[in-house]
Amino acid sequence: MPIMTDLHTELKASIIEQLNLEDMEVSDIENDEPLFGDGLGLDSIDALELIVLLEKDYGIKLTDPKKGREIFESINKMADFIEANRTK
């Protein structure tokens, strides 16, 4: 795996891997594209997967799954949230 230098790219790669988006590549996901609903089409189960991803990779623990929906709106939002709250 190439070394990721950019958080945005790193996130895209982890999402593709963690959520089994087999036919997708990092370049297929736009930074401001909605991850849920009409955009990438993720659902509530994916949101739970992303919550664990935040905890495991960035040391951020979310206890309320509802908060996830805002944070995971797009790659941009996710990256901002991680930069502001990461513990690792």
């Binding site: 509530s44 189960i45 739970l48 919550i51 664990v52 799954p65």
Partner: protein
């Protein structure tokens, strides 16, 4: 007119009692069975569970099992509950009796314990097949020598309710005259972590139908009913009749219920139809009421769609925890106890109604006239089942 289906015996083992009498006593005294894990080995010591405080070896001793037995915990609990049901129904001849067992995680307790040891420890290999529900059913059926029609239903949390439904249908069709129905499930790290990973596991005691509910708590239990055709039940005490049943699928999401509770609505509607009853005939509803945000709201909406005037209802999962595949059977027993004693058991830990639906469950023990009880069980995979139990007229 199809043949009537009488309940002539029942047995139960749950966190609120090891037999019918103990369970009934706990229900009328509002004594719940939730506690922190003592027997289940888990890192989640903070999560309340409806645990039965007997070790596997205590249970095996009570059944006089050989030291090298291959009973899973679900089989141990199931065999004890089934013994009570058979004694209750005074059944000693198993030649033509059928057995329909509801079970979801089978011997997962053994699988998770031995999974990494099978290679090195031949003694545990007798549990290799234990992972699947049929294995647990085999142990229970083998104990009693029930050899004929034996099957297992695994529709997650509606398994035992579906077992009751199938048993009733087998009798109505004339295929069987006697059939044991119910379910068993034990606690396991697998299910505890599963529901915890879904972020719907409560760190407090469950608060079904409360606006501040925080999720479900798992429990373990086994319960069985003996169903018999009218001919076979003739000279026996009849505890009630299985008068209606409905099974439908929500077809919405693998785990979550639809917003308006379509599957639940259809299951209740079908149950009323098969029982030939109108909603106003129902005197009490033993709700599914898991205390998750999603279920209780969805179920409430479905209830409102069916019932213009809401009958008394409660979720007894506040006593036992959610016992997964066994839930439909223990709640069938509670429904039949409600009929027998003409009383409604409370929904514990309820303070304020969900603002959207404003349904208020019964929160104190209530004595009242009960002719028909509706019992709901819904599960993963959109599986929804409703049963109606009726008093002997």
């Amino acid at each position: 007119m199809s043949r009537s289906v009488a309940v002539t015996g029942m047995g139960i083992f749950s966190a609120i009692g090891k037999n019918l009498e103990e369970n009934h006593r706990s229900l009328i005294h509002g004594k719940h069975g939730l506690s922190h894990p003592e027997i289940l080995e888990t890192v989640h010591q903070n999560l309340p569970i409806g645990e039965i405080k007997s070790t596997n070896s205590d249970l095996a001793d009570a059944l006089n099992l050989d030291k090298n037995h291959a009973f899973t915990r679900a089989a141990l609990l199931g065999t004890i509950a089934l013994k009570e049901a058979l004694q209750n129904a005074k059944i000693e001849d198993f030649t033509n009796i059928g057995f329909v067992n509801g079970n979801s995680v089978g011997g997962m307790d053994m699988t998770e314990r031995f999974y990494r040891e099978y290679e090195s420890n031949p003694a545990n290999r007798r549990f290799i097949q234990a992972q699947h529900p049929g294995f647990t059913t085999e142990q229970i059926a083998g104990y009693f020598g029930i050899d004929n029609y034996v099957t297992t239903i695994s529709t997650a949390c509606s398994s035992a309710a579906n077992a009751v439904m199938l048993g009733a249908r087998l009798i109505q069709s004339g295929r069987l005259d006697q059939v044991i129905v119910g379910g068993t499930d034990c606690l396991s790290r697998f299910t505890l972590n599963g529901f915890n990973s879904l972020m719907i596991y409560s760190e407090d005691f469950p608060k079904p139908f409360d606006s501040e509910r925080k999720g479900l708590n798992l429990g373990e239990a086994a319960a069985y009913l003996v169903l018999e055709s009218a001919d076979f039940a003739k000279n026996k005490e009849v505890l009630g009749y299985v008068s209606g049943y409905g099974n439908a699928n929500d077809a919405f999401h693998q785990t979550a219920s639809s917003e308006n509770g379509e599957g639940a609505y259809l299951a209740m509607q079908k149950a009323l139809e098969t029982a030939n009853l109108n909603p106003h005939h129902i005197d009490y509803i033993n709700a599914h009421g898991t205390a998750t945000q999603n279920n209780d709201l969805s179920e409430s909406r479905a209830l409102i769609r069916i019932f213009k005037e809401m009958p008394a209802f409660s979720s007894t999962k506040s006593f036992t925890g959610h016992t997964l595949a066994a839930a439909g059977a223990i709640e069938a027993v509670f429904s039949l106890l409600a009929i027998k004693h003409q009383q409604i058991y409370p929904n514990l830990n309820f303070n304020s109604a969900i603002s959207d639906t404003r349904l208020r469950p019964v929160t104190e023990l209530q004595s009242t006239k009960i002719q028909h009880v509706l019992s709901n069980s819904f599960g993963f995979g959109g599986n929804c089942t409703s049963l109606i139990f009726s008093k002997d007229e």
